[in-house]
């Protein structure tokens, strides 16, 4: 018993200002146990080996003048550095006194958790001893009884303190619940569908939001099926919207700094600027096009109003790049004057102005009623408490944070509309029939309502003939939409503005699956449908009142509560029938934005197409439930990853290793995976060293790109030297030597870029000879210059150190996993390929674990330190010396500081410690890159992976491959020795 306490005790012993490492504490534990077992001078000698040491040792161990480091320090260099000649007696004595004191305290005190049966030897312990005293041997029963009572008392005391909070009933009361919810929303933003999701999903806190990751029920395949045959619904409200207003030319001039035409259409793309299509671009830091990308955004222009050059633009971005994007936008637009929130400048086109005034007048009425209602509630609560009001929008932001910035020079106003607009995504071919069934174009007000002024926006709009015309046209188009069979038939990115009735009014009593109306094919207006399919929605119909802040606010404020709606429903004469005069509040402006499906590649075209539904805030749940009642599946973050994976598009934070957000994501992922790895006992871990996997949890892109650049350089030099040898089969030693010198030079600027230049990508994809996923049908490639070494070297001068995003489809067996290696097959492997049998895969020979001896020695060394402390220094010195000799000393010393500092303190069994040796030539096959997402693809029916390879490496490989096997690579999972054949596709 005593020994045990001593084992736990020393961690708490800490002399102020002396750093106690984990290392030392474990060591102390070890020797404390030993001394305890011998039973001698347990109290003093067991505590600190430095105490028992000879005076010479003491002096050696002294680390700093004022602070004492307990235990043995592994890195011997520290001692030599600042050895002081004197021991100040006072400080030394104080240190020892503190230690002795804590030790005595630890010995004397019995903690609540310390049970009597801890003293029993293991073979005498029984199940449930803590509950049943009779299971203990009789001599211990009394003590056990006493302790049981004590613990009971302690427990009850704690419980009493807890019950100070209200009873469950009180806590669940609506107002209190709302307060509690509001409190919990202060840290992470909740979406409007949060409660719904929290009941059904595993929630994760990401990017400052609480988001549903995956449902608690099993639905991976059903969700995939929903995406490919029916409809999958997602809440994407966490995407941030930034609004830009200003003159069109000014805005375009400013925004053009952020993008480049080389990477595809920009903000000024013809159809996008008309407001007819949604566009997407990758945004870079201003003027730095090929380097420093921020991330992908989608954007939507508001259609022009007649005779006005004033435009409005919404940029939708992922929350992880929002801050960067916002500051970048402020930079290019020179918008630095923050506008204080209460004075929100609504710079809207002229047509809104009349609708503003009546609104202002009548604002009082709903407010008045509200105060009445809240007053009644407030009476029963204590008056100090603020009335609970549901948080709409961003709850984490203080109300005084500016959300609007304007510029005096360019006249552009930037508005942060985060959480102002709800965005739902419906994926799948039946998305439009779900929408068509859920939504109904707003019914026009009757004459009586038109005549009297109203606080609501819709009656005011009804008075305007032109607006009603527009509404009618939009409603017609929406009606035609019902007759389309599949969402993919529409031009991608189409926008449709609409005003709809409150969908709660038409809520079915039972969940029914929305299906396309089959019978209506005869009486469809064929002409108009064809027009819609070919041209998309005409300009003016893309207009929506959702663009106007005043209307949005009006709609949000005047939303009818669920309670009120239910009351009205109960008053209907025939139960279950529709409310006949639709309440005036229930008109909501929305925007429907078509999302393109799979656009690259040749199979499964337009898979995963769908619609985005944009709503004013506050109306989220009102639309969510009716959508759910149409038989859609709900997906979380996990499903959106799978969606983009099947679509063959990069997913934002995962597949952008050159963006700051992508880098951050990879770091997080690494720590997460490492933690998971460390949780297993060493014997049960995958030994990645033996598998020849250098970095199973991260991808050192930088090192990869640099190594390949060096190899190509080397190759070129060699070519010049000797024309016969034109390969990369140079000896490793030369390369490595070169590399060390090279890496130390280039280490300062760490910038890999992902190739996004359209022309170059096309060239590359032509060289890779894209085929279909299973390699059955080769497709025509336009005029691609033949792959030759001169063309390659020209290409490499431009994009030497960049990576390229590739899709890999496995030819036969295998399911690629995260961070699987992409390797180059040697000629013998390609021979295997022609044999056409699944079992014939090349294998990686098992590597030797250099570190095993090192870890062992360390463990041994620590034990020795306890028994004979004098010899430890020697062993440790050897231990630190030896591996560095055996391991090729190829350093990228400051790869990332976090893990390198870790590795200096402790080696993790099964992982290669930093610094990594040469990545490319570590295994028997030269590696090109890594997989960032990999899975069995349900749409392709084989394993598919998405990953990055080094451009230089890829071209080198392609050059050396025979024509018929061009673009063939090997994939190897980190925890496997089998290489699998895969085909590289680069799709533009």
């Amino acid at each position: 018993m005593r020994a045990k306490k001593l084992r736990d005790q020393p961690t708490s012993v800490m002399y102020p200002s002396s750093p106690v490492t984990v290392e030392s504490s474990t060591q102390n534990g070890g020797d404390a146990r030993d001394t305890g077992a011998t039973g001698g001078d347990g109290a003093t000698g067991g505590d600190d080996p430095s105490d028992v040491k000879l005076p010479v040792e003491r002096q050696k161990n002294r680390h700093q003048r004022d602070g004492w480091v307990r235990g043995h320090q592994k890195d011997g260099a520290v001692y030599a550095k600042d050895m002081s000649k004197y021991i100040s007696g006072g400080a030394f004595a104080r240190a020892r006194a503190a230690e002795v004191k804590t030790m005595l305290k630890a010995v004397n005190r019995t903690t609540g958790s310390c049970h009597v049966f801890g003293a029993l030897p293991k073979h005498m312990r029984r199940r449930a001893m803590g509950h049943n005293v009779k299971r203990l041997p009789r001599r211990l029963r009394d003590v056990a009884n006493r302790m049981h009572k004590k613990s009971l008392q302690a427990g009850s005391k704690k419980k009493k303190e807890q019950t100070k909070s209200k009873s469950r009933k009180a806590r669940r009361r609506h107002g209190n619940l709302l307060l509690e919810f509001n409190r919990r929303q202060r840290k992470n933003i909740w979406l409007e569908t949060h409660i719904w999701h929290a009941k059904r999903f595993h929630m994760v806190k990401k990017w400052g939001y609480c988001l549903g990751d995956r449902p608690t029920y099993k639905c991976y395949r059903p969700c995939y099926r929903a995406m490919s045959t029916h409809c999958l619904l997602q809440d994407l409200s966490y995407h941030c919207c930034i609004e830009l207003q200003g003159e069109e030319d000014n805005m375009l001039a400013c925004l053009s700094q952020l993008t480049s035409k080389e990477a595809g259409p920009t903000f000024a793309a013809a159809l996008c600027i008309l407001g007819r299509r949604q566009g997407s671009v990758v945004v870079y830091r201003a003027g730095l096009y090929p380097s420093q990308p921020l991330g992908p955004v989608t954007f939507l222009w508001r259609p022009r109003t007649q005779g006005s050059t004033h435009r409005q633009l919404w940029i939708w971005a992922h929350p992880s790049i929002k801050q960067d994007l916002l500051s970048e936008l402020q930079g290019v637009c020179q918008c630095f004057e923050a506008v204080v929130p209460p004075v929100v400048p609504v710079v809207t086109p002229a047509e809104v102005v009349p609708s503003l005034e009546p609104e202002l007048q009548s604002e009082k009425t709903p407010e008045a009623t509200q105060t009445l209602r809240t007053k009644r509630k407030r009476n029963c609560k204590d008056s100090s408490e603020p009335p609970a009001k549901k948080i709409l929008g961003d709850g984490t932001r203080s109300p005084t944070t500016p959300v609007t910035w304007r510029s005096s020079s360019t006249g552009i106003v930037i508005n942060d509309l985060t959480m102002e607009i709800v965005r739902y995504r419906l994926i799948g071919p039946q998305a439009h029939s779900v929408l068509a069934e859920t939504l109904e174009a707003a019914s026009v007000c009757d004459e009586i309502n038109k005549s009297q002024p109203s606080s609501l926006w819709w009656p005011e709009h009804c008075k305007d003939e032109s607006k009603m015309n527009l509404h009618q046209q939009q409603a017609d188009i929406f009606h035609i939409l019902k007759d389309i069979y599949s969402t993919g038939e529409l031009p991608s990115g189409t926008v449709l503005g609409l005003t709809v009735d409150d969908p709660r009014l038409t809520l079915p009593t039972k969940k029914v699956k929305a299906l396309p109306c089959v019978k209506s094919t005869q009486d469809v207006d064929e002409e108009r449908m064809k027009e819609l399919v070919l041209r998309g929605v005409p300009d003016h119909c893309c207009q929506s009142f959702l663009w106007e802040q005043s209307v949005r606010d009006n709609v949000t404020d005047n939303k009818m509560s669920e309670q009120e709606l239910n009351r009205m429903r109960s008053e209907v004469l025939v139960p279950g029938s529709r409310l006949s005069p639709t309440p005036l509040q229930g008109r909501v402006p929305i925007l429907l934005v078509h999302q393109p499906g799979k656009q690259v590649g040749h199979e499964m075209t337009s898979w995963g197409a769908g619609w985005d539904l944009l709503l004013p805030k506050g109306w989220g749940m009102a639309f969510w439930i009716p959508l759910v009642y149409r038989g859609v599946r709900i997906g979380g973050l996990n499903m959106s990853l799978k969606h983009s994976q099947n679509k063959g598009t990069p997913h934002f934070p995962h597949d952008y290793p050159d963006c700051p957000a992508g880098v951050r994501f990879q770091e997080e992922q690494e720590t997460e995976l490492l933690d998971k790895f460390k949780r297993r006992p060493p014997a049960k871990r995958t030994n990645f060293v033996k598998h020849g996997c250098l970095a199973p949890f991260r991808c050192p892109w930088q090192q990869l790109a640099e190594e390949w650049e060096l190899i190509t350089k080397e190759g070129r030099v060699e070519e010049k030297r000797d024309d016969q040898t034109q390969t990369t089969t140079n000896t490793d030693t030369v390369m490595e030597e070169e590399m060390t010198s090279h890496l130390t030079v280039t280490k300062t600027q760490s910038c890999i870029t992902v190739l996004r230049n359209r022309k170059s990508l096309k060239l590359l994809s032509g060289w890779c000879r894209p085929t279909t996923s299973k390699g059955q049908r080769s497709c025509r490639v336009g005029q691609v210059p033949p792959l030759s070494s001169s063309a390659v070297s020209l290409f490499l001068t431009e994009h030497g150190v960049s990576l390229v995003w590739v899709r890999l489809s496995l030819l036969a067996k295998g399911k690629p996993e995260l961070h699987a290696m992409v390797c180059v097959p040697v000629p013998e492997d390609l021979k295997l390929l022609s044999k056409k049998s699944d079992s014939n895969c090349p294998q990686e020979p098992l590597h030797r674990n250099h570190f095993k001896s090192r870890i062992k020695r360390r463990n041994k060394g620590s034990k020795k330190a306890a028994t004979s402390s004098s010899s430890t220094d020697k062993t440790e010195g050897k231990g630190s010396d030896l591996p560095s000799a055996s391991v090729p000393k190829l350093t990228t010393s400051t790869e990332d500081p976090q893990s390198s500092s870790e590795s200096s303190t402790d080696l993790i069994f099964g992982l290669w410690p930093d610094p990594l040796p040469s990545i490319t030539s570590h295994c028997s096959r030269v590696s090109l890159g890594w997989v960032t997402q990999g899975d069995f693809s349900l749409s392709a029916g084989c394993g598919e992976a998405l990953g990055f390879v080094s451009v230089a490496g890829l071209l080198n490989t392609l050059l050396n491959q025979p024509m018929e096997h061009r673009g063939m690579v090997l994939l190897r999972n980190p925890a496997s020795l089998h290489y699998r054949f895969a085909k590289i596709n680069i799709e533009v």
């Binding site: 000024a268 069979y485 993919g488 399919v533 070919l534 199979e603 025509r780």
Partner: protein
């Protein structure tokens, strides 16, 4: 099993690339400036006994599916549809079905023309180049394979 698991893969009639060139004159489109992107052919509601033949699935698998529908599925008739390049295969499947049934099955073929939509996206992302759409026609065949009535 009579129902195809996934219409996305199995029921899309594949238009052969060769037809694009033959049906549309390449005059109005400069391949350097535009990328051609084909949209899917228009889908129509599908019954259980409709079989859309494509060029991607294995021939034997498609034949087996038809046989299953006729024998195990209890359908008296099935319709085999083929578009473009897949016409050949659709005919092949129908004939194979007939041959293996020892004369019990009869065929009735219909041809039709299907309008397909292509998107032309400008390479040069300037404001000038506007995305275009064009339509072209492709042939299709619909073969009814059925057991004749006993009368």
């Amino acid at each position: 099993m009579a129902d195809p698991r996934n219409p996305g893969t199995s029921s899309i009639p594949q238009a052969a690339p060769a037809h694009t060139d033959s049906t549309s004159p390449a005059v109005d489109m400069d391949p350097v400036e535009y990328t051609l992107r084909k949209r899917l052919p228009r889908k129509l509601p599908k019954r259980r006994n409709d079989v859309y033949v494509n060029m991607k699935t294995d021939f034997r698998a498609q034949l087996a599916r038809c046989q299953k529908l006729l024998e195990g599925g209890g359908h008296r008739e099935i319709c085999v549809h083929g578009l473009g390049l897949a016409i050949n295969r659709a005919i092949n499947i129908a004939l194979q079905l007939q041959a293996t049934s020892q004369g019990a099955l009869q065929l009735a073929a219909n041809t039709s023309t299907v309008e397909l939509v292509d998107d032309l996206e400008p390479e040069d992302p300037d404001e000038a180049g506007e995305p275009m759409t064009r339509t072209r026609n492709n042939s299709a065949i619909h073969i009814k394979v059925f057991y004749p009535d006993p009368q």
